[in-house]
């Protein structure tokens, strides 16, 4: 379970969000919404432990994140804007590297099955430089399927994905949630809630709150 308490983030002297609190329980999908530059990526990088420019508390299974980073990283799969694939390697080599790095031992057949699920069967030995942007995204999703992470942190996963793929990815997220996983996702795509597991979080409201607060303080002072 992920608890975020009173999280504030400032970047380049600009307050992105403040006093942001939410909880993500097993079986839930949380979609972070916000305009461009609202701080969606910053929030995901903070929760993934890649950035420490924040104040507030993040709890993982009731423990402060900084204390249980090793456990957390075993249980977390982060997929950023850049899928982290080497273009000179084949999809299979990329997936094997990533699963080894994340301490999950997936057999050759397991990785092939994961590639099959993202409709890339037959592409396993073709260098990634020959794949399209959407296909590269799909390779990254195969890594997601092969991982055993409970928490998925996905930054704009729908970029470069075709219409059919969007529906497919949504059902993948739902399946993960229904198995007791957690999904934290940013997207401009309106996700459909078919199982009642989807929640939405508007990031702007946490930026505005503070502005109003400051205004109130000013008013009170006057």
């Amino acid at each position: 379970m992920l608890n975020v308490l009173q999280l504030s983030c400032e970047r380049d002297d600009r307050l992105l969000f403040s006093h942001l609190s939410f909880q993500l329980c097993p079986g839930e999908i949380l979609q972070i919404e916000g305009r461009n530059g609202a701080g969606k990526t910053s929030l995901l990088r903070i929760i993934a432990g890649l950035s420490s420019s924040y104040t507030g508390e993040i709890l993982w299974d009731g423990q402060p994140l900084a204390k249980v980073y090793a456990d957390f990283r075993l249980d977390c799969f982060f997929l950023g804007h850049k899928p982290g694939l080497k273009l000179d390697l084949t999809p299979l080599e990329n997936l094997a590297w990533r699963s080894r790095l994340a301490n999950t031992t997936v057999s050759h057949e397991g990785l092939l099955a994961a590639l099959d699920r993202v409709h890339l069967a037959g592409y396993e030995d073709i260098p990634c430089s020959h794949l399209s942007a959407g296909q590269l995204r799909r390779v990254a999703f195969a890594g997601l399927i092969a991982s055993q992470a409970r928490l998925w942190i996905l930054d704009e996963p729908f970029t470069a994905i075709d219409l059919e793929g969007v529906v497919w990815l949504e059902s993948l997220l739902e399946e993960h949630a229904s198995l007791g996983g957690m999904v934290l996702v940013t997207s401009h795509q309106p996700l459909t809630d078919r199982q009642g597991s989807l929640r939405k979080l508007q990031l702007e409201t946490f930026a505005k709150d503070v502005l109003y607060d400051e205004q109130e303080v000013l008013d009170a002072g006057l």
Partner: protein, 232 residues
């Protein structure tokens, strides 16, 4: 989907995976690895043309020329060590790994050394012949290169980690790494020159070993810290 059971940590296999991937990448696009070696060869082959073809003068200069060439060649290859991973997002995955980051970066630096410093060491005898280095100094040259080039990779990787976000950070990287390279250069050329004059050079070798042990112990911590801070 497999169940959510815990697995035992296997840092060694992660390190092997990192080394294997980096070596595979080096073989698939060999230009990156060949560049420093071509540079090394060019420095050594242009020297007799530019300075003097005189056998005795060259023999005196050989240790310095080979070592400076190797040092600059390693520096040339360091720029892309972490930058290519940063460009495609693989660095985030390295940082997100549950394994200790210093261990993983040590694996990365080791594969960098295999494709740069180690290859330069293998080329060195050829260059030593070209520069008329006396044959009794060959072993000293090889030992110093074997001990010294890993230090160049380790110390340079700290600079590479600090400049991973800087576009064309080559100059900055050079400024950061060169002070750390100077002691290695002094002791290594000192050892080879001592061997040329048929004097004992064990002291120099021991000092180089000290640098190597220090580098292996401390540099990965510095590199890992730098990567975490810079890649915010």
């Amino acid at each position: 989907m497999p169940g959510f059971e815990k697995q035992s940590m296997n840092g060694f296999s992660a390190c092997v995976a990192v080394i294997r991937r980096d070596l595979t990448l080096a073989f698939r696009s060999p230009g990156q690895a060949i560049n420093p070696m071509a540079f090394f060869l060019m420095v050594a082959s242009l020297f007799p043309l530019g300075v003097t073809p005189d056998r005795e003068v060259l023999a005196e200069l050989a240790a310095g020329v080979i070592w400076i060439g190797a040092l600059l060649a390693v520096l040339l290859s360091l720029d892309s060590l972490f930058k290519s991973d940063q460009d495609d997002g693989a660095l985030d995955q390295l940082l997100m790994s549950p394994h200790p980051l210093p261990l993983l970066v040590l694996a990365k630096v080791f594969s960098h050394w295999l494709t740069s410093g180690f290859c330069l060491t293998l080329m060195a005898p050829l260059l030593a012949i070209m520069l008329h280095l006396p044959s009794e100094a060959f072993s000293a040259l090889m030992i110093t290169l074997l001990l010294g080039t890993p230090v160049l990779s380790l110390a340079g990787a700290i600079g590479a980690a600090l400049t991973v976000r800087v576009q064309r950070g080559g100059v900055l990287l050079t400024l950061l790494a060169l002070p750390l390279y100077i002691p290695v250069l002094i002791f290594a050329t000192g050892a080879v020159n001592a061997a040329v004059q048929k004097m004992p050079y064990t002291g120099h070798i021991l000092w180089l070993s000290v640098f190597l042990v220090l580098g292996i112990c401390l540099a990965p911590l510095a590199i890992a810290g730098a990567l975490r801070v810079i890649n915010e």
